[in-house]
Symmetry: C2
Subunit: 699 residues, 2 copies
């Protein structure tokens, strides 16, 4: 890939500079200035529309003067960069990276300390970060708070979740900024682990829509050695202010110059589809650092997991018998343990028969009797299976069937314990042919006083990924801090949860039908999610007549999610016996791919609907997914993304006429038609419904 | 070893019980009672003298009712136990373990919760602990404070150091209890890492002497999964109260029933020597858990260490070049680096020539440019040597000379980093034939907010020892929490620092001449100390004429310390060139042993003098050390510890007539005489002086 850099160096030493910078297509305009107190300010316009009004920047430090005022500009460098690249796995074979960079070197007049601001203006949005260069007067320093303002221009509609230090597993709230009120939410929502919250503190990414039709998203990229940024919203002025997640003693970040913060991003467009197709977050991360990536492979998998969520099986072997790690050998099985050798072989057989790459087994290891809610340091040792799970036998059986086993490491939040055992755990995995791990962090963090989203934990999640890369292990972290594109740098960070996944539908108030139409505008911007779609037995009354819980979609929408959710790791989450009841619908899950040459966002409106088409990596097949919220939807799609002149067989998996997520969720139909790039296709989505289409060329 | 147990079971359900229990020799009498509030109380008398007046016991819990009052007795079991044992390494081949146990099962009337108290009454003192048995109503619980009183009977003289959460490296203060005042101390004392302190909070062990001639010591044993206990002293009433070291959020201990606290100990005697010969702390620890102990060996060693303290060499290779772990390869050497291949070979040659077992090398690994005082998480990786330290070449050279290398792991307090790298560090050691590690913890602890003496760190120090045992590695921890006899259970925990060592003499106000006469009554009660004696070039002006610092002893006393300090790991700390100047005095260090069949405390008075004789493990040789404080001392010793009928050659290393720790510290003389068990020998100790004697049988 060629890199073209145009340099325009400007030397400036005057006060009161007000510099205007434009994105490559000139549609986005940033103004930068230093005010009379020496405070750096920026503002952002989309064409003539204000997006961010004049907003201040600065860092509040501990035990030393702040880096927030008294600045003058030492030097400014502006350049335009084009630096396209190819991800190892992804939505696009080639990712365009094109921006105007505006780099400002500031000097604090009294202290003579240096602070640099690096802005990157893309057509889709603005990114900037603070950089503290190597200098005599600053070496080690502690960030007490980051003072970054996003002074929004109006009372936008926002899709937001509470600024909880410990969890992002919330349903999105759709209100105007003025109506944000965390304390008014119903917290009986199934979240096992909640941390500190505040009335008008929300999480980023926050998706917004202005009255004048702009889609605005505030987020961050490349969070490394720094806490997660939440946003304090002023519900009167619509100014947002960064709030970093604290550590055990209230500090935010420990840094050493040279250092920099993560990128703060403001995406903006008058077309919601451009937010979804943006690769801004990935572009702001460092290039891939793993030399040999041949072992990093996309993966569809099944596993012993949903049967625990529906109450058919248990993670634990012996119930609550107060077992201490592997020390208490005399466990009496309850008979409901899911992770048995026999059951695992059944899943391996199923995976082999239907072409799945992997099998996940949760509850295989000693510790589950006594793992939840106890803030206990020594729960799991990650190497001791229950007596009914024969690791070697399963290893050999899986190998004979050509199926990869996926290891599960639940830490219960005891990171101290996990880190000290990590090398042993990974060595055990490799010895037993496991090349991927699903990790879990359900619990209050140990080291005690730390939070899931603090600097310590951000470092932990990234450490595990780096260490895993040395073992050639892929990582799928659950209950981690939400991704910010770091999988560009470490592509073995194949997926994460870090949002409200499908399992909440099994035992809580669940995820409303709009949920999956919001996630791509929020959580997915940071990286792939292991959402675990594919539930065919929608209603939990199937398992227990007294249960009212259900998945809040139709069956056809569960299929469409395999396309609308981007992830190179996708689970077919339901039970084998449920798939076997619906082999025709199951065929789509068997066929759908998880790694792509190209993605086209056909339709999108956050909270309402999304339609996406994707071309398989290295093949001529395409897959399309369309989903809607609680409202039914009719649409007609042009198939002009298909290769002109080619004929395709399109298999359409859609809601039956009377389908409805609540009243009749399993009613679907399947039809096959022949199409070309000139064809149009009409879709009818039921309330809470969806459509999935596979396109294969006819030779 | 035979275990004789006499059982006397007593069932009691009445209120207001006042039970009297006597030690095996009936000299020590404990009373136990429950007061009208249901608070458990104990008191302790030595013969007719009160030692501890009626004192309360209880645990203050977080988020649940305390376990401190409203108790009634459910059952009492009294028994007498004799259970002698053999340590792997030690002062005695056989350790007598003989006590009366008094076990009280309490029930809290309102809550129906159970709390047990286990008392053990030895002839030398009382020990007790709290036990929380398995029960329905208590599973996980958090100790907010332990409410253990030691209500002393008078305004005793005390040898105390401040109750600092982070360091024990203080000079002992000798005052009455009424005059304890931490805030009045001169804190310009060379201690690199100080934590929270309080006006009248002191550390245990605290050594006291009453006006009526009793020697009283309050300490603890077997601190596992619990914080270190400091003592809050009421300077008016002379009541002491336990104060546990807190964690990052102010909690003290996280426990799960069944659980117990460490033992709280009160030693008492009218003979100071009995305090020193007591094996109470070891007896209260669990037996050895390491099956094969063949690799646990006593060790005399030299090393690249003192030359850094005297300013001749540096730990770092490149000075302050702000190096980040092993990442910055381009370090420019300053030329003063101590840990070079060449210098190491010189020490190996010296060790081989003079019969030392090991060579320690500090400053061998990348990180020292940037390690101190920065609260930095990633400093050392423990596997990357500086470019001038060839690990393989040194490994092969040491092997060819029959010398063991001792690895050094400075963590700078970043325990998070050390634990996640520990397996790699130990594997690297074994690959390069290192079987012993000296660890260091100079710095504020990471996880941030934790303290050296909190539960998290206690667990860390014990974890490292256990993990090291799995690699067959011996551990010598510096700046750890002070030992409490856990080396009985893990005898590879061969030594620790955890007190003010000899190096403070090189660059601070140093250790006064009385220092080494107090340590055996305090710090050494918990376990061996790597004090690093043997300094021959006493005055630092030898290295730099402008320096005023010096070791506060005579040269002869430096020899005597090898006997008065018990440790199976002893360093000959001075430089090879200094030893070569005084080969006759050096001969004692070469000859002295470090593992013993038997130890006899001949004379002892805390703060004044100590004289100890020890018989070599498995040999007929004896060694004697006598030390005094700043006052000269004359004494005559009976040698009746020697085997009757045998003749011995005694080489006496003593202060010259005009020797004086300050004015003439290097003046010594050596004389050889012939003695038997019937002989007496007169000693003349100079101010700050000492005498060392080796006895070898004449065949």
């Amino acid at each position: 890939m060629k890199i073209r850099i145009v340099l325009a160096v400007v030397f400036i030493s005057i006060k009161g500079l007000n510099q205007e910078i434009k994105s490559p297509n000139k549609q986005l305009i940033m103004n930068f200035s230093i005010d009379s107190y020496g405070v750096p300010n920026y503002s952002l316009n989309y064409q003539s529309k204000p997006v961010v009004k004049t907003s201040s920047l600065g860092l509040i430090l501990k035990d030393m003067p702040d880096l927030a005022s008294d600045f003058q500009i030492h030097e400014v460098v502006e350049k335009i960069v084009r630096d396209d690249w190819h991800p190892v796995l992804g939505e696009y074979k080639t990712i365009e990276n094109h921006y105007v960079e505006y780099f400002v070197e500031l000097i604090q007049k009294q202290t003579k300390r240096k602070l640099n601001l690096r802005f990157r203006l893309y057509d889709i949005g603005l990114a900037f970060r603070y950089e503290i260069p190597t200098q005599d007067k600053v070496n080690y320093f502690i960030v007490k708070e980051e003072f970054t303002q996003f002074n929004l221009s109006g009372n936008h509609k926002a899709f937001w979740i509470p600024g909880d230090y410990d969890s992002q597993e919330y349903v999105y709230n759709e209100t105007n900024l003025s109506d944000i009120d965390v304390m008014s939410l119903d917290m009986n929502n199934g979240i096992g682990m909640k941390g500190p919250m505040s009335k008008s503190r929300i999480q980023s990414p926050v998706m917004m829509k202005s009255n004048d039709g702009l889609y605005i998203n505030i987020f961050e990229a490349a969070v490394l050695n720094y806490p997660i940024m939440h946003l304090d919203v002023n519900t009167q002025t619509f100014a947002m202010q960064s709030h970093l997640v604290a550590n055990a003693i209230g500090d935010k970040a420990y840094l050493q110059a040279h250092a920099h913060t993560p990128w703060r991003t403001i995406m903006v467009s008058d077309d919601a589809r451009k937010i979804l197709s943006s690769q801004l977050i990935l572009n702001l991360n460092e290039p891939n650092k793993i030399e040999d990536t041949s072992w990093i492979k996309p993966m569809k998998y099944v596993g012993i997991w949903w049967e625990m969520h529906v109450g058919k099986a248990t993670w634990d072997y012996a119930g609550s018998q107060n077992a201490q790690m592997a020390q208490d050998a005399a466990l009496t099985p309850t008979g409901k343990h899911g992770a048995t050798t026999e059951n695992t072989k059944r899943y391996i057989d199923f995976a082999a028969k239907h072409g799945f790459d992997g099998v996940l087994v949760e509850g295989w290891n000693v510790g589950w009797e006594d793992w939840f809610g106890n803030w206990k340091e020594e729960v799991f040792d990650f190497v001791t299976p229950y007596p009914d799970f024969n690791v070697e036998e399963i290893r050999d059986y899986a190998k004979s069937k050509g199926v990869q086993m996926i290891m599960h490491h639940e830490t219960s939040g005891s990171v101290a314990n996990y880190e000290r055992r990590l090398d042993r755990a990974f060595a055990f995995m490799k010895k037993n042919d496991y090349n991927a791990v699903k990790s879990g962090y359900v619990g209050k963090i140990i080291p005690r006083g730390e939070w899931h989203d603090g600097q310590t934990m951000v470092n932990h999640f990234n450490y595990v990924v780096k260490r895993a890369a040395e073992y050639q292990i892929m990582v799928n972290s659950h209950e981690s801090s939400r991704p910010t594109g770091v999988h560009r740098t470490y592509p073995n960070y194949i997926a994460a949860e870090a949002a409200r996944g499908n399992e909440f539908n099994a035992w809580s108030n669940g995820n409303p039908p709009s949920h999956e139409t919001i996630l791509p505008f929020t959580r997915f911007l940071g990286g792939p999610m292991d959402y675990t779609p594919g539930i065919f037995e929608i209603k939990m009354s199937h398992y227990d007549a007294s249960k009212k819980e259900q998945v809040h979609t139709t069956l056809a929408k569960q299929l469409a999610l395999y396309v609308t959710i981007y992830s190179p790791l996708q689970m077919a989450a339901d039970l084998p016996e449920n798939y076997e009841k619906y082999p025709d619908a199951f065929q789509f899950i068997k066929d759908v791919e998880v790694d792509w040459d190209y993605t086209k966002i056909l339709e999108a409106e956050p909270g309402n609907y999304i339609t996406i088409a994707r071309k398989t990596k290295g093949k001529e097949t395409w897959f399309l997914g369309a989903i809607t919220d609680e409202n039914s939807r009719k649409t007609e799609l042009k198939l002009d993304f298909l290769t002109p002149g080619k004929k395709y067989k399109a298999i359409i998996y859609e809601d039956a006429k009377d389908a409805h997520w609540e009243k009749n969720p399993k009613a679907y139909k399947i039809r096959t038609i022949q199409v070309t790039a000139k064809s149009k296709v009409k879709l009818n989505l039921a309330p809470g419904g969806g459509t999935a289409i596979s396109f294969s060329p006819i030779n």
